[in-house]
Symmetry: C2
Subunit: 110 residues, 2 copies
């Protein structure tokens, strides 16, 4: 087998240099895993489409038909990765989209 044939047949190298750094991949993975849940996608959509771009737990438990602790759990997951912000106002706690973090995901897939 000559060199030319080898060149045609061998499976090309050159992947190493273009590999996304592992730590960067893990950061994005955490962010995307938080978003990649059907209930959390619905929560994000509900926040995004609401009038003031925010929602409290009581807005979500009804439509999503899940227990209050489960909704709180999902909101915590989302806020832990910074995709939503948390603000207590009196009795209620309001969650809003973090547009900067949202933009980071948009950029990844642009």
């Amino acid at each position: 087998m000559n060199n030319l044939k080898l060149e045609l047949l061998e499976c090309a190298p050159g992947a190493e240099s273009s590999m996304m750094a592992r730590n960067k991949a893990e950061e994005f993975s955490e962010l995307l895993k938080a978003v990649a849940d059907p209930t959390r996608l619905q929560i994000l959509a509900m926040i995004a489409k609401s009038d003031q771009k925010e929602a409290c737990v009581c807005n979500l438990t009804g439509p999503l038909r899940l227990s209050q602790p489960t909704i709180s759990h999902h909101l915590k997951k989302l806020s832990e990765v910074g995709i939503i912000d948390r603000e207590r106002r009196g009795t209620w706690v309001w969650y809003s989209l973090n547009t900067e973090r949202w933009g980071q995901i948009a950029k990844l897939f642009s």
Copy 2:
């Protein structure tokens, strides 16, 4: 407690109508879950940045330092949701990005 006060205090409704449909949320969830793994993000980046926008298993096992069956497993996950396409050419199997599917994610976060 009068009506005005009630109006000020009650946590606003109006989420139900703006809720992302559950089946749509589940579809996107499957797609995003496939992508939201650090190794699979690295695989996608390596494919995207390679010269011919494609890679075979043998391109990936070395740089990613994972066993060949594990790489195959990840590639299967990615192709199952249609984010990459599979094509056998002789001995090797080449995987390439599906730009339409990629665009669907981009649109979600735009």
